[in-house]
Amino acid sequence: MSSITELLDRWKRGDRSVEDALATDIYPVLRELARAQVRRHGNALTLRATELANEAYERLHVQQGVNWQNRAHFHAIAATLMRRVVVDYLRERQAEKRGGDQLFIALDDMNQRETPAQGDHVDWLAVDQALTEFAQAAPDAARVVELRLFSGLTKEEIAEVCGSSRATVGRQWRFARAWLAERLDVVPGDEDGG
């Protein structure tokens, strides 16, 4: 695991070329945790990105002594990977079961309800696809979305990680959120009023 620490140091110094190598090291950990989580829940599809990220952090930091600069540092790296884990997992599931998309209720249906009922699921593949498209036009805003959805970071921490201000992150988030919601045609709510 010392190699992770080393890669992290380089990443921290701005060397983005090490990201792939880092991903290779961390991705399996996240995937394993995700599988374990799904198993724990009797194979129900309840991937919880925040919980996973925290578990991964605990495992790598606490158990293996990987020296993250701080928690935000870790989550910033893990968010992209987390997104991949979720998407890969779902693709796998869909390939396993024909018509695997019946696992998800259509996002439209959620409009009807006041609050999401327990067990509602999200079409993450659609989210992923839309986000990829969005990223080509607005990579920074897309990164903010990725961090919001796939890490446990707060807006302040996201601003710090992105080297931007809280206000900017808030604006980027509002635009991305509106665009994605429009794109996916959902009427979602918001936790904090942006």
Binding site: R48, E58, Q118, R174
Partner: protein, 858 residues
């Protein structure tokens, strides 16, 4: 034609621009845009509309996607009717960011209790903190106050969801309750003081609530208050190095957080004071200082950390007639008037941004409110001295939580204060405060009051000594008081020799300081108890004689100590007489009185040793009933009494009938005190004996193994109880057969440890070696047995050994020398000299009488 990406970028720019515009200007922007590219303008309009609807909609989750899908709850398993363990879920009574709350019933053998169970979302809990919480929950469980909803249990469901079980309270949130009854300001203050009393009790036990808010303070129909969720915010409060903001987002109600809580600063009583200020503000003015409901978390954080709270009167609007009437005023103006002055001063002082500038203790706050109610002016400013003390307290995080580091800090700091005080005698009251604080800290660490903290307490005590010693010469009176307390705690955690020595020092200091007879006598009795526990009976008797000369002979404390001494010396009749008197003389005392309780338990124990188990059992039952009357059905103390009762029960009803009760006691001890506590270790020994006697030898041995593990962990490998427990297990394993390697390893370990710490552990080494020798003999290793018995250390100890131990030694020696071939005409060369020594010993001790002491269990 723009590409899709260019289009999105352009939309982004326009959207960004629109964000800063008022609705009219925004329409103008859209119009300009429409002239250029109508479809782009339409899309922009839709995005803006989306954005606004997203802003308005209340707490749905970002994108409506994330939490719903990713944070799906353990919904299927938790529903009314579900039974797990002793709990049965009845009704869901709440759901929030932290998890879900159910009303449930807990069924015991002879009671049914309504409880509230909080299931915590797993992703909100840090595993390490949850583990630590399990050791602290005993402290919370023992937080016994009518105004505090008690923590009953904390554990994890089979699915892995952590939950806490609390006393269920039927009541209404304090603000609603007061409004519904149109309470005037004075009545509200009186109600608030009840809240203060409950919080003060917790603070005295070093527990900080951390999340006081109106919805956590319920009022029952008869007007009594109950605080919910005491102390449980802590294990859920911080995830590793997650920033305070994150913490706030997740757990804390932002409006009840103190500035330093948001900044990740130390959690102290000052945080609770701040939260109480918020509560009082809301209770009086009908609103919190800031309109949190319409603020973002960032704005809330800013307000709490930076913005001074507006005066209460300023938060009351002209249109607030209903609010004024709910407080017994006819006009808004009258309410505003009443909120100015001292009340405003009190509230503002609670809400200072700097913890050091708030009230230092609940008592101070309560004092000022009392002044208002009695229409006396409050002290405008505390004395400078008190201010500095408060600063010290805040700086050292006193009472922030129970931990070794914390207590150590207190001790060291207290000693530092005492040293500084040498030249400033008029600051003695400050030292007195320090003493009080220290005593409270110890009370919280005292395992007879709260278990599970044994190791922590020991570590603290050992570390505390050096700094304490520095006050011996300069302030003997303070030293005597502190050392007495410290000795009491040391005695309780089983450090008897240390306690005896310290009590003696305390007594010397008391003599220097010129303490009166009563206080000197009390220290003498304390020292006697420690000496008894350490096995120095002659010394103990001498101290008791001196205490009697000071006129303390007729006190229950003296009688109790004397009874214990006689009991240990096997003077059964005298022990019973003294203990009976102690019980008689404490008859009027409440169930919470330690001496009264201890006297009864000791008497029952003495009765049991005198083969009067029927009476012992009756007394245990009677004590249990007496204590139950004043305590919750599953109070830790009741478990302890039930544990001591097991022995008598076994003798009266038989081992088989005792096993089920013993199992229950073990389970309770595990739950309340933790699996590696002294209580759990002791309870397992009782269960183990019952199992062995009932013929369940395999399981009995296993239970003894667990008991030994618990002893090791609770008091360390070298403690006498650990060694004795290991010896018992070795014997059981020897009898059971098939575990020779394990048994021999245990024999070797206890001998090695016992030799190293012979004085401290009072290890009956001669007795143990004799049994180990028998073990070796049975396994055809007579030479080893002989050498073991005739070790120089063994021969040195032999003359001072108990007669029964000498008999065991001689029996083993005879068997070993004959098995080793000493009786042969020419013994082997390597053992010849041993044979000679053995023969001499046997000859010279032909007159040894069989002894009586055989009870080797600690």
């Amino acid at each position: 034609m723009k590409t899709a990406a260019e289009r999105i970028r352009r939309l982004g720019e326009l959207f960004d621009e629109a964000l800063d515009l008022d609705p009219v200007a925004r329409e103008q922007l859209l119009a300009r845009c429409r002239a250029e590219d109508p479809s782009l303008a339409d899309e922009l309009a839709r995005l803006i509309e989306r954005d606004l609807s997203l802003l308005d909609s209340q707490p749905r989750t970002p994108l409506g996607l994330v939490s719903a899908g990713l944070d799906a709850r353990d919904s299927d398993t938790l529903q009314p009717g579900k039974q797990f363990g002793v709990y049965r879920l009845e009704q869901e009574i709440g759901q929030g960011g932290m998890g879900r709350v159910f009303r449930a019933t807990r069924s015991g053998p002879d009671f049914t209790q309504e409880v509230a169970i909080k299931f915590v979302r797993r992703d909100l809990v840090h595993p390490a903190l949850l583990r630590r919480f399990s050791t602290e929950r005993a402290i919370l469980a023992a937080l016994d106050h009518p105004g505090i909803s008690r923590l009953i249990d904390a554990s994890t469901t089979p699915e892995g969801t952590p939950y806490v079980v609390m006393e269920f309270v039927r009541g209404q949130a304090i603000d609603g309750w007061a409004d519904a009854r149109l309470l005037g300001l004075d009545e509200r203050l009186a109600l608030f003081r009840k809240v203060l009393a409950a919080v003060a009790h917790a603070h005295r036990n070093l527990v900080v609530h951390r999340d006081i808010k109106a919805s956590n303070v319920l009022v029952t129909d008869d007007g009594e208050i109950k605080l919910l969720d005491f102390g449980i915010a802590k294990p859920l409060g911080r995830l590793g190095d997650i920033s305070a903001t994150q913490t706030m987002d997740r757990f804390l109600t932002p409006s009840s957080a103190a500035p330093e809580q948001l900044a990740g600063g130390p959690i102290t009583v000052a945080c609770d004071i701040h939260a109480l200020g918020m509560l009082l503000y809301e209770l009086l003015a009908g609103r919190l200082p800031f309109g949190f409901a319409n603020m973002t978390p960032g704005e809330i954080e800013h307000a709490i950390r930076q913005v001074p709270p507006p005066p209460m009167a300023g938060r009351v609007l002209d249109s607030d007639l209903a609010l004024a009437q709910a407080r017994g005023f006819h006009h808004v103006r009258e309410l505003r008037e009443a909120l100015r002055g001292d009340l405003e001063h009190i509230v503002q002082r609670c809400l200072r941004k700097l913890p050091t500038e708030r009230y230092g203790t609940i008592d101070q706050l309560d004092h000022d409110i009392d002044c208002v109610l009695r229409q006396q002016p409050i002290r405008e400013r505390q004395s400078d001295r008190w201010y500095r003390w408060r600063k010290f307290v805040a700086r050292h995080r006193v009472a922030s939580a129970l931990s070794a580091v914390l207590l150590l800090t207190v001790l060291v700091a207290v000693a530092a204060i005492l040293r500084q005080n040498v030249a400033i005698t008029h600051e003695r009251d400050r030292a007195q405060r320090a003493v009080g604080l220290l005593k409270n800290a110890f009370a919280a660490a005292n395992p007879t009051q709260v278990a599970g903290a044994n190791v922590t307490a020991r570590a603290v005590l050992e570390a505390a000594r050096p700094s304490l010693e520095t006050t011996f010469d300069t302030q003997p009176d303070v030293y005597a008081e502190l050392a007495g307390t410290l000795a009491e705690v040391e005695l309780a955690v089983g450090l008897s020799p240390q306690a005896a020595e310290l009590a003696e020092r305390a007594r010397q200091a008391a003599a220097k300081a010129g303490f009166d007879a009563a206080r000197t006598g009390a220290l003498l009795i304390l020292e006697a108890r420690a000496r008894i526990s350490a096995g120095d009976y002659a010394e103990a008797e001498e101290r008791l004689t001196r205490a009697a000369a000071l006129g303390l002979e007729q006190t229950p404390e003296w009688q109790l100590a004397m009874g214990q001494l006689c009991h240990h010396r096997s003077l059964r009749e005298q022990a019973l007489a003294h203990l009976e008197q102690a019980v008689r003389d404490t008859r009027g005392r409440p169930p919470s009185d330690d001496i009264a309780n201890l006297a009864r338990l000791q008497l029952a124990n003495a009765l049991r040793s005198s083969e009067r188990s029927q009476e012992a059992l009756a007394l245990f039952d009677q004590t249990l009933a007496w204590q139950s009357a004043g305590l919750q059905p599953d109070h830790p103390r009741l478990t302890l009494i039930r544990m001591y009762r097991l022995d008598a029960l076994r003798r009266v009803r038989g081992a088989k009938a005792t096993v089920p009760e013993a199992r229950q006691v073990v389970e309770e001890a595990d739950r309340i005190y933790g699996k590696n506590s002294i209580a759990a270790a002791t309870a397992r020994m009782s269960l183990g004996i019952s199992l062995l006697e009932a013929g369940e030898r395999g399981e009995g041995a296993q239970v003894f193994r667990e008991s030994l593990t618990a002893w090791r962990s609770a008091v360390g490998n070298d403690h006498q109880n650990t060694l004795r427990s290991a010896f018992n297990l070795a014997q059981i394993l020897t009898d059971l057969g098939g575990n020779d390697a394990e048994a021999e390893a245990l024999y070797r370990e206890i001998l090695q440890r016992g030799e190293a710490k012979a004085e401290e552990t009072r290890a009956p080494l001669v007795f143990w070696r004799s049994h180990y020798a028998q073990f070796l003999l049975k396994r055809q290793r007579a030479g080893d047995a002989l050498r073991l018995l005739l070790e120089p250390d063994n021969l040195t100890r032999l003359p001072d050994s108990h007669s029964s131990h000498r008999s065991a030694f001689l029996a083993a020696l005879k068997a070993a020398s004959s098995a080793a071939g000493c009786d042969a005409p020419a013994p082997r060369a390597d053992i010849a000299s041993y044979c000679t020594t053995a023969a001499d010993l046997v000859k010279s001790s032909a007159v040894s009488a069989p002894g009586t002491e055989s009870d080797n269990l600690p």
